[in-house]
Subunit: 368 residues, 2 copies
């Protein structure tokens, strides 16, 4: 097998098995738990008639598709509910790679499931290093794209860099994809965690895009495995056929819980969690400044991507930091070659101050 | 796109939109509803801590994997929990087709998702007509198999024929697959609905097999989307990597509900539902005898596969039977070419007597 299996679990396992207390800045699951609507939806499923346990419609429960369509301002026929954004990205990428070329183009550093999936499907990922500010430069994508390009895959807000793409940049990327008859796939799972201005979605681009998303971050429920994609009208049938032959349909209790939560959760719930992440980022980056670490100021998302003096970004460096420093992070090397000396710290723990204290001490130790 | 999208939904839509009352012998969802343990499991999920909403382990909740492993008599490490048997079959077939050849061999008639999936993945399905008794003959599989064969896919008890494979036949099929370095994939989702003797699983075959299964039929919960596969120890890692890059993980509420149900559901619940299906089959086949229809006496499963005098097995024949006869069934043509004049009647409605009365009248009408 040539493909790279994502290695996140190795860090999780090291953090769990450490002999000492470890602050978990490696995790991707929100720590604040779901809104009450999620629990209400599960309770209503528990009490439902037998027909609520039948096969769901392949494209998703009508009620949920309509709620998503309303929020995104699209026709419900363009919405497909999937087993998380993972399955949304899978069927979108597999559809592109089956018909349009043998390569995907993405940023480096990159969420490793994209490149792993291209390799899994017998294809390649061409990774374009981000610029000095951690941003994906459309000109660099243009230079890397070719008639072999099946899809240009972007993440905005980004994991791991925390950067967002401007409307102009997204327009340019959509035009580049269209020029090569490729699909722009825009993973927007952090869209509720944009810290300044509003989220710029590829749905608003001048050229068509497949936008993938999930409720894992938005509603703090990665365990439900409910995501979705919005595709152009001329692509949705092909993508839905692939979804049908991959997963048949998406779980009903999860869909019902999400639908209820979308109907009942008030705006301040979302705002509170966004501010929670922002406050943690402020605390953490103040600590990084004091340490003298390099980092990208996040525009959005859950992460601070940083380079600590003397620490490094390999798996071994992370294992050492867990054991000797008491803080777990994800190695930059897990996201590609361009920032392999960096680390991704997630802001999904209330113990950010402890993390800063420990990192300050750890950096002082390794530098001596 | 060359692949065939399963067309079941066309019959469902015709039955729903008919101007008259229609007895639904087309559906695949049990009508009796889940055991109380499923509902208990969902209620416990609704009340659970935030960490119960985090990403589940990729291979499935430990509690559920252990329960499955105990029942199947295998090491839990060989068990992968999937988004229904659909995803189990998908990752097993995709793993085989990525490395071992470009064809699957399966019976005709065949559950259409297998052949559609092979085509979707850029490969072919070589279908072997069943014998006059509706059984897959291992000698015919041997004649069809070659070094191009990546997987031999069987279903026992079968959908649509209702036939089971003997231990000897499964041994022969496993040996044929092994001879060509192919994987025997045995879909056993109807294993709790075997009407005489015990279920013969490919797990007990002399050569290795990947066994796929789900709780959709067993616990009457296709809407949960919880299935699994058991793979040989030297294959499970490759299959799990593919699962990870396809779906990341399987939904927690569904897994929790199934785990609870497996722990709390008494044997008589399963036996009652098996007898319910048997009684319906007895009523239905007595009616078919009186009509003079040809059919296979089911060894197991949910279906009676039959040929009605003068009716035919095309989609058009089914649409006509819905409108003029008031009974919906699945067209034999949806399952391949070998029995394209036949129909699959599911026994998942309490209105079997009404179905028999209407079919008796309908056959009399079309014969005149």
């Amino acid at each position: 097998m040539e493909y790279r299996r994502p290695q996140f679990y190795r860090v999780m396992a090291a953090a769990r098995s450490a002999d000492r207390d470890v602050v978990d800045c490696a995790r991707g699951s929100p720590d604040w738990g779901p809104p009450e609507g999620v629990r209400d939806g599960l309770r209503s499923m528990a009490a439902a008639d037998p027909n609520a346990y039948e096969y769901p419609p392949a494209a998703g429960l009508d009620r949920l598709r309509r709620a998503i369509a309303d929020r995104r301002g699209v026709d419900p026929e363009r919405v497909l509910v999937t087993n998380g954004a993972g399955a949304a990205n899978h069927v979108a990428m597999a559809t592109a790679l089956a018909e349009r070329g043998s390569e995907i183009v993405a940023a480096d550093p990159v969420y490793p499931y994209y490149a792993g999936r291209a390799s899994l499907l017998g294809n390649r990922a061409r990774l374009v290093p981000v610029d000095d500010e951690g941003r994906l430069d459309p000109d660099a994508v243009r230079a890397a794209a070719s008639t072999d390009t099946a899809a240009v895959v972007i993440t905005t807000p980004n994991n791991p860099t925390g950067q967002t793409l401007s409307a102009d940049a997204i327009d340019e990327l959509a035009a580049i994809a269209a020029h090569f008859d490729a699909i722009l796939i825009s993973d927007e799972v952090y869209d509720h965690f944009v810290f300044a201005g509003r989220h710029q979605s590829a749905l608003d681009a001048d050229a068509p895009a497949v936008v993938t998303n999930s409720f894992s971050k938005t509603l703090a429920v990665p365990g439900l495995r409910v995501g979705y994609l919005v595709a152009p009208a001329d692509l949705i049938d092909d993508i839905e056929s692939r979804h049908l032959l991959t997963n048949v349909a998406t779980t009903r209790p999860g869909q019902r819980a999400v639908a209820r939560a979308l109907e009942t959760t008030r705006p301040d719930w979302y705002a509170t969690n966004r501010r929670r992440v922002q406050d943690r980022i402020a605390t953490f980056t103040a600590g990084l400044d004091a340490i003298g670490a390099e980092y990208y100021q996040p525009d959005g998302g859950f992460y601070v991507f940083a380079r600590l003096p003397g620490v490094g970004g390999s798996f071994d460096a992370v294992f050492e930091m867990i054991e000797s420093g008491g803080v777990a992070a994800m190695p930059g090397a897990a996201f590609g070659d361009a920032r392999s000396e960096w680390l991704r710290f997630s802001m999904l723990t209330p113990r950010i101050e402890t993390a800063v204290d420990r990192l300050t001490e750890y950096v002082a130790t390794v530098e001596n």
